[in-house]
Amino acid sequence: MNLPFILFFICALLAVLGAVLLIIAREPIHAALSLILVMIALAVLYLLLGAEFIAAVQILVYAGAIMVLFVTVIMVLNAEAEERTDFSKIAKWVGLPLGFVLLFAIAHWLYRAHVGPVVASGAGIPAHALSTWDLSTELFRHYLFPFEATSFLILIAVLGAMILARRDE
């Protein structure tokens, strides 16, 4: 029982709890807050794996930028609490069992991959956290084309959003 081990289970539980709350919550703001909880718990999990940069960017981009935008939009639209309709019969009789089957399948594969002992012993944590230097060398040397292509794609998306938003004028 070392510290990363305990932290892993706390954050894993928090992430699952946040994800469940996100679906159960009826107020949109509560759902958004649960999603933020998931993001932060995931960031701590990244940190446990030695991926400092990914952890910081996870909080910075998802919790700090995207979710802030979500919360602002919910506030601007003043979204009301969701109304609950009756569960659909198919979801109840087919969806739930299938969901459990999927969960079982994932657990089975994880068990066979022997991830548990690695996590428990803390052996999965690299001795040296990956530095930003290594990361940028990889990103701007080996993966330069995918990186540039992605940024171009995002630029197109930004322009598209602006055109769609200003179509009426």
């Binding site: 510290l3 107020e27 703001i29 509560h30 807050l33 933020i36 400092e52 940069f53 910081a56 960017v57 909080i59 910075l60 919790a63 700090g64 930028a65 802030v68 935008l69 919360v71 602002t72 919910i74 506030m75 601007v76 956290a129 530095s131 930003t132």
Partner: protein
């Protein structure tokens, strides 16, 4: 003892966090006193004067008053979020300070743990921005959960403002990162060591003056201070997002705002003014005694004030202050202690200059109009900080191409 040797990081961190929390909380309380005093003198008033000598016990009285006030929760509010918002605001504001180095990393205590920084992360700057980028939740959620008009408007305004200015804030800092080539605070600071022409410190503020001005403006807007205090513009929105908050929850928002002020001042000091480095060359040995001498000078002034002006209980209180600063000042002169206080002394001195600047601006400038605020942020500040970034990057690219 065995536990300490097994978990040196854990034990050292808990000690450092406890000490830092105590210091920061006290500093925040006295920051309110400092602000009221300075603004009062700008406006030809005395400011707090009657609770303690020179109003020195005013923060304590304010804190007690906040504790004993009735804590009102509006019946139509969203209970959970309403309670969560102030905690979130204060917790995030205080967490950000954990990444700030107050002194050189070579000063260590139990098992080589650094004394002057809680977490000396390799990417400290990114973590700090990650924490502060979440600070907007406290304000936005407070405005939403109060379920009344003015707080909602205030919360919306502040979210829009903080998102807008965060872009410029982050971009204005990238120039410094290009110079330092690191995201670690201590490396950024150590990179600024040395002097041009033997007297001008090699601080980033000189090559990055445009970036610094952008940072300073964006930082004032980011902390919702005058002249960008639209979220709580009294004349328009009563008190903005915290209109419905009372008692200690209000105090928590107040403390969060001051903690954010301290954080951005610390960041300005680290990135542009050499952090804990002394402005004087190393060859000037007398600077080792400057912290102690400065404190003793304060003590001597307090002694003069005690004798000539103070009467009654105020005289007693100021005598305590006098003795404290004289004793601590004398301690700082000891050769064993002096090297340890250098870093924190210069760091605190620089941060205090920024805090004074904050208050000075508040006492001088009128508030922006909302559309002015937005167009200033997007149409002036963002292009200028972008141009600064592109210019710095080009400068380095040309340099690399020449020298390979």
């Amino acid at each position: 003892m065995e536990f300490i040797s097994q978990h040196p990081v854990l034990v050292a961190s808990v000690i450092k966090i406890a000490v830092l929390l105590f210091i920061v909380m006290t500093a925040l309380a006295y920051l309110t006193w400092f602000e009221r005093k300075v603004v009062a003198h700008i406006q030809s008033r005395w400011g707090p004067y009657y609770v303690g000598a020179h109003g020195l016990l005013q923060p304590l009285a304010d804190g007690l008053k906040f504790l004993f006030k009735e804590d009102v929760t509006p019946p139509t509010s969203d209970r959970l979020v309403y309670v969560l918002a102030p905690f979130l605001a204060l917790a995030l504001a205080l967490t950000a300070i954990a990444f700030i180095p107050f002194g050189p990393p070579d000063k260590t205590f139990i098992y080589g743990q650094k004394i002057f920084v809680v977490s000396d992360s390799n990417i400290g700057l990114l973590f700090l921005f990650a924490i502060t980028s979440m600070g907007v939740y406290g304000v936005a959620l407070a405005g939403w959960s109060s379920n009344s008009k003015y707080p909602l408007l205030g919360g919306l305004r502040s979210s829009a403002q903080m998102i807008s200015y965060e872009v410029s804030l982050t971009l204005s800092v990238v120039g410094v990162l290009l110079i330092a080539g690191s995201l670690q605070f201590n490396q950024i600071i150590e990179n600024q060591g040395g002097h041009w022409w033997h007297f001008l410190p090699e601080w980033n503020v000189f090559p990055q003056i445009v970036g610094f001005l952008c940072y300073l403006t964006a930082a004032i807007a980011e902390t919702n201070r005058v002249p960008f205090d639209l979220p709580e513009a009294e004349t328009e929105l009563v008190a903005g997002f915290h209109t419905e908050y009372s008692s200690f929850k209000f105090a928590m928002f107040f403390m969060a705002e001051y903690a954010n002020m301290v954080t951005v001042s610390c960041l300005a000091t680290i990135l542009f003014f050499g952090g804990w480095l002394s402005p004087f060359p190393d060859s000037w040995h007398w600077q080792l005694y400057l912290p102690g001498a400065g404190l003793m000078a304060v003590g001597i002034y307090c002694a003069y004030d005690t004798i000539t002006r103070m009467r009654g209980i105020a005289r007693l209180q100021l005598t305590v202050v006098t003795l404290l600063s004289l004793v601590i000042g004398a301690l700082c002169l000891l050769p064993a202690v002096a090297p340890y206080v250098q870093g924190p002394f210069w760091f605190t001195a620089k941060v205090l200059v920024f805090l004074f600047f904050y208050v000075w601006v508040r006492g001088t400038l009128p508030r922006f109009r909302y559309d002015q605020l937005m167009s200033f942020g997007w149409k002036l500040l963002l292009p200028v900080s972008l141009a600064n970034l592109v210019g710095t990057a080009l400068w380095y690219a040309v340099g690399w191409m020449r020298h390979g």
